[in-house]
Every structure is written in C-alpha cells, then in structure tokens.
C-alpha cells in the first residue's frame, strides 16, 4: 500500500484528482446519514423546499454511531442510500463514504458531479474510534442513533472506490 494522500476540510478541491484505488487520509468534518435520517431529509425537502441543515461542501458518512465514552462508528451499506444521492449532491455534498458498491444510477451521479465515493473498513469500530475526535447531533435527535451527527475525523483512512470519471475498484 502506497502512502495515503492527505486531505483536509480545507482542500476538498483535491478530491477531484483522486483515482479509484488510491487511499487517502482525511481530517475534517463528516456528516452522518442513513436509512431513517435520509428518508426524513427527503420528506422535509419535499415539504419545505429546503433542507434543515447546511451540507454545502460537506462529506457524508453513511453510518450511525454508538455514543459510549468514545465515538464507536463504522460504515453501513451505501447502496441502500443511492436514492438520496442526487439530493445530497445538489445541495453541495462533495463526497460520500460507506461500504460496498453502488448502483449504476449512483455512479452516473458521482461522475456527473465529480463527487467521489470512498469506502471505510467495516466491522472494526473499536479500531476506528481513535480517528474520530468528537461529535454532536445536528438534526433529527428523535431518531436515536440514526440522528444526523457531525463528527471531526483525524487521519481517517479511506479508499477511493469510485472516482470522478466513474471508474470503480469493484470493476477492476
């Protein structure tokens, strides 16, 4: 494995240069999303024409944490969230993180908007806990673990799974 490319919240422009198969080390803010929270986000958007939170220039992590003494978190299957990708990206999201492959429609959206998709190692949340500094709920507290959280990650290792040209590590 080559040395990962360092990327922080301040240099999201670098995301566009990544190629599928490249590892990055990310430091910055991550916003969680998953089944119930994304569903609610879509419903609120349909009702009010706008989102309850600002996701401009943010990276989405498909996940829900355990809030014990440390942040215990890991990715969930991204494919289930494909239906909401267009809305997230049209509201400014610059990349998404999860586990597994994505649908053809999602890959087309990723390519069109140059918003890469990363995968994070799954099922190892104790190991990952040291890469998450702090977190807070930013919306939908009533959903419990599925609330939308904002976390600060530090040096989190991510693998570029689908890049801005639509190339995917799962096709190689």
């Amino acid at each position: 494995m080559k040395t990962p490319i360092k990327i922080t919240s301040k240099d999201h422009h670098k995301l566009k240069d990544l190629k599928a198969g490249e590892w990055i080390s990310y430091s910055g803010t991550l916003v969680t999303m998953r089944d119930s929270s994304q569903r609610k986000l879509i419903d609120e958007y349909k009702k009010n024409g706008k989102l309850p939170i600002d996701i401009k220039d943010k990276i989405i992590l498909y996940a829900a944490p355990t809030m014990s003494k440390k942040v215990v978190i890991g990715p969930t299957t991204s494919k289930r969230m494909d239906a909401g990708l267009e809305l997230l990206i049209s509201n400014g999201v610059v990349a998404t993180i999860g586990k597994g492959n994505r649908s053809k429609t999602a890959i087309d959206i990723i390519k069109k908007n140059k918003t890469p998709y990363f995968i994070l190692m799954s099922g190892v949340s104790a190991y990952l806990s040291k890469y998450f500094i702090k977190g807070k709920i930013v919306a939908f507290k009533e959903l419990g673990p599925e609330a939308i959280y904002e976390f600060t990650a530090s040096g989190l290792l991510l693998l570029t799974a689908i890049d801005q040209k639509g190339r995917s590590i799962f096709d190689q």
């Binding site: 996940a63 829900a64 014990s68 299957t77 494919k79 597994g100 492959n101 099922g123 190892v124």
Partner: protein
Amino acid sequence: MPKTRIIDDKIIINKVCDLVIKNNLELPKDIKDTIQKAHKQSSSRQEKALLDVISKNADIAKKQKLALCQDTGISCFFVELGKNIRTKSNIDLLINKGVEKAYRSKLLRPSIIDDPLNGKNSKFNTPASISIELKNSDGIKISYLAKGGGSENATGLFMLDPADGFEGIKKVVISLIKEKAINACPPIIVGIAIGGSADKALLYSKKALLRQIGNRHPNKYYAKKEEELKKDINKLGIGVMGLKGDVTALDVFIEPLPRHIATLAVGVSILCHSARRGSIKL
C-alpha cells in the same frame, strides 16, 4: 428423569446481559485464530493489512471496552430448554430483560425499530429474536448471536426441486454470495440448511452459524460438502471487504433436515467477520 430445577429469574437476566455485553466486546477465540491464520495464507499485501486491522480491532475492543462493531445487530437467541427446568417468568421475557439491561450500559447501539413501517427506535434493542427448542436433556443452554443488518440482508431462501441435488444447491449458494457477500462484511461464515419447511431451513441456517470454526458436520457426506463449498467460495476471490483476495469465507456449515417429497428448501445465512456468538449453560 432429572429432578425439576427452578432457576431464579434474576440469574437468567444477569447471565443474558453478560453474554450480550461480553460477545460484543470480545471476538471469540476461534474467530481470532482463524483471522490470524488467514493473514498468513493470504497472498495479497492489502488483504493482509486489512486482516491485521480486524485483529487490532479485537484487541482494542477488549482492552478499551468498546463495541467490536457499531452494529451490534438483532439480538438472536437459540434456547435449548431441558424438561426439568422451570422459571417463574417466561424464558423469552427474561431474555428480553437481559438484553435491555445490556443495552442500558450504553456500550452498544440499539438498532431495533418497533414497527416496520411507522416505528421508532425501541431504545434497548428489544425485542430479541428468540427460538426455543424443548429438549429431554438436563439444564438450559442459551446461545446468542449478534446479527448485523448488512449480513442479515444477505440471507437467502431457495425452494429447489429435489432433482436439483447438491449441484443445484451449490449454484444458488455461489450466486447469492457473488451478489451479496460484499455488503455482509467479508470474510464471512456461511450457514446452509438443506431440507425442512421453508421456515425451518432459514432458522437452522442461522443456528448453524453458532458452530465453532472447523467443527465439521458429524455426517461425513455433509462434512465433505462443507469443505468443498468453502474452497469454491474462496475461489471467487471476493476477499476482505470485497477488495479482491484469497479470504472470502472463514468457514461453511451445513445442516441437513428431513424434507417433503416434493421440496428441497435451501436456507442460507451469512455472518460477518465480526462473528459475535457465544452460549451459556445453566
């Protein structure tokens, strides 16, 4: 006939609570050893690094009392209840109380929604999924399996024709794994029940996941088929996290069941690499 024995409700609640917490913080020894063995056998540097992370995760989880995986799953229980055992409250109620107690520790993430379409988080991961078998033997055995959503979504049920035989079974199992294993956090453990009614095929495919790695079926025919399928699955090259490699299945367990003359049910349950399961006997 052994003498009737009354077990205090509190004992069961506390034992179940401990079982749930311990299994979510400590990777079973057979799984840990198998991951280390796979690390030696893998020919890919990237895969070795990922297997190493799984081992490190187990060490950190145990030492720092953190969940091995944030998805602590549906709490599945398989109870073998001996004829001589009595409890004041129903056993399923006691198990649910034990699960609730475990989740009150806040170490584990509650993941159960109380109604499938209009529900909310039940807060303590209840109700658990409990199956109870009545046994002639003495005592009670409670086995626990933390079944994450990713691996549960990879479950398969196939109603084949009896004439399809083992080759037909192999075909559907391989095709299911090709399609779905990637989201079940490979390396996986595969439980397959052949025969039975549709519901029993699914139940016993899941119960098969409780077996220790390398623990072959006592029937030599099925033991051989377990080895054969394991080889075939690993030849698919899906690898850890689906990133291509040599390690896709840690083991395959088959449970044969009597069947109807017209049916050949095949239930397939898949367990992720964070194979959290264990049991207690009272």
